[in-house]
């Protein structure tokens, strides 16, 4: 394992300190560690957004704190949901009196810990709504499992709900928009290589030089199937087909196409992937109206990518285009 780190058990501490040093518009609450909040929070009368989860998915979530997106992010240990304490601290720190929306990726740990924090916040008189994101079509038979995972689609929920909160929507409205985005977004990922959790020191699974995993999550868990390595175009087709079938997306739909890198994938490869995905969608009469390409929802140093499609309507386009000013996503300001 070769990483630019010091003590493996200090990676999250030091990365959060780095985020604080690099982005003076953010404020890090040290006790309980670690809450990354907007410096201008709480904003009286505005709904506040809190998200969080295990670390190792950077820039998710800390890199999305700022104007038009999250009010606070709560990073847990690597790949481990934070406990209720910092989630509660974040909720209290950013509540401006209009209530707080928790955006939770659908993992047992995240759901349970956010649930407890929400109960505690409620007991302290803070109104909390929770939206659970579960966009990953790789999990089949979701009735017989812990359900679909929340993966790259989480970013889209955070951006669009954040824009709604910024313009002054009520908690119920912001939550409804977040749920609508979640209902319209689908993702699927793949890995060329596993990732290595710093304190584990060994790869999260073994993969031969001629094998890839299709349908991976973002915690280094193995995927839905292991297949022989193939050219990018074939991989894109394998990812897109179940996404399109699932919602389903159909000819005439307008979509946001998001090609996401898993952490160690060079941008040049993501563009090769994007090219094919755009080509396939065009052939199906699906209009790519908005795009995003980059490593935004990652899995430490995993090599691979995920593809996310969000069905758009005018209201969602307006919210997507609205100004955002965060370390990792920024436009219009």
């Amino acid at each position: 394992m070769k990483k630019l780190i010091n003590d493996p058990s200090k990676v999250v501490d030091e990365a959060v300190a780095g985020i604080a040093a690099a982005h003076p518009e953010l404020r890090v609450i040290e006790d309980p560690p670690y809450v990354i909040a907007r410096r201008d929070a709480p904003r009286p009368g505005r709904v506040a957004l809190v998200s969080g989860g295990g670390s190792g998915h950077e820039p998710l979530h800390g890199g999305f704190v700022g104007h038009g997106m999250l009010d606070a992010a709560v990073p847990g240990p690597v790949f481990t949901s934070p406990t209720p304490d910092p989630i509660l601290a974040a909720t209290k720190a950013v509540d401006g009196g209009a209530g707080v929306l928790h955006i939770v990726k659908n993992y047992t740990g995240d759901v349970l810990n956010f649930e407890t924090a929400a109960e505690l916040a409620l007991a302290e008189g803070i109104e909390v709504e929770s939206v659970v994101v579960d966009d990953d079509v790789a999990v089949k038979d979701s009735l017989y499992t812990a359900g679909r995972r929340g993966v790259a689609g989480t970013l889209l929920v955070e951006k669009i709900a954040g824009a709604a909160a910024e313009r002054g929507d009520s908690l119920a409205e912001v939550a409804a928009i977040a749920r609508r985005v979640n209902a319209q977004v689908r993702s699927m990922g793949m890995a060329l290589t596993p990732c290595t959790v710093p304190h584990a020191g060994e790869p999260s699974f073994d993969l031969a030089e001629d094998e890839i995993e299709i349908g991976i999550g973002i915690h280094g868990e193995p995927g839905r199937e292991r297949i022989a390595m193939e050219p990018a175009d074939g991989i894109v087709d394998r990812l897109l087909a179940p996404i399109v079938e699932d919602l389903p997306f159909a000819s005439g739909d307008r979509v946001l196409l998001f090609v996401n890198g898993m952490g160690s994938t060079p941008l040049v490869e993501l563009y090769v992937v994007f090219r094919r995905a755009a080509e396939v969608l065009a052939a199906q009469g699906i209009e790519v109206a908005r795009t995003l390409v980059g490593s935004y929802v990652t899995s430490l140093d995993m090599q691979g990518c995920s593809i996310t499609l969000l069905r758009l309507d005018d209201a969602l386009v307006e919210l997507w285009d609205a100004p955002v000013q965060t370390p990792a996503l920024r436009w219009g300001r």
Partner: protein
């Protein structure tokens, strides 16, 4: 010898010791069908528990000790196992009430712990989770004649339950994403449950 406060402390310290010892093994089980942190998670939690045990009032009842374990796990473990074990110890503490020893309430305490996990996690028997160790343990303890043999029976049943998760497909937790690929691997949470209950028998 009764299951008094001293025993409760010995038990918890033994759990902390054995988790520290077997951390890598638990994490390895979790690497195979989860995200490779179960040992780390529990070790972080029980190390914190051990540190806070010393601050506890010397006169603390078994129930008070179990409550400290619960709140410490909830606020330090995170992940799925943090709230689940936290709720288990919290419900166990409530079941123990103010009793000076757990001898007479042992089965209620174990059952309350199991029920708490089921209430939070909604797993059923056979879903390949820690419930598959807890449930047979509760049944075995209920059938025993005294507290000591109940602990021994619970530990043995939990170990068998953990082993019996190996052929299963998971329907809860991260392993459920793997479908058939989870077959042949033991559920890490059922193994840590067996560890916790074996420590109770040995304490």
């Amino acid at each position: 010898m009764s299951l008094d406060a001293d025993w409760t402390r010995r038990w918890i310290v033994l759990v902390a010791d054995r988790i520290a010892e077997r951390k890598a093994e638990l994490t390895h089980l979790d690497r195979d069908i989860g995200d490779g942190d179960h040992g780390e998670n529990l070790d972080r939690g029980f190390s914190a528990v051990r540190a806070r045990l010393d601050d506890l009032d010397a006169a603390a009842t078994p129930g008070a000790i179990l409550k400290l374990v619960a709140t410490t796990l909830i606020s330090t473990v995170g992940g799925a196992s943090g709230p689940l074990y936290g709720t288990a110890f919290l419900r166990a503490s409530t079941a123990a009430g103010d009793a000076e020893t757990l001898d007479d309430v042992l089965v209620d305490v174990l059952r309350a712990a199991r029920d708490g996990i089921v209430a939070r996690g909604k797993a059923e028997a056979g879903d390949k989770t820690m419930v598959d160790a807890w449930s047979p343990a509760v049944e075995a303890a209920a059938a025993a004649t005294d507290a000591r043999s109940a602990l021994e029976a619970a530990a043995t049943a939990a170990e068998a339950g953990a082993a019996a998760t190996e052929p299963l497909v998971a329907r809860k937790g991260r392993a459920s994403y793997l479908g058939e690929r989870a077959i042949g691997h033991r559920d890490p949470g059922s193994e840590s449950t067996a560890l916790i209950l074996r420590a109770a028998a040995d304490a």
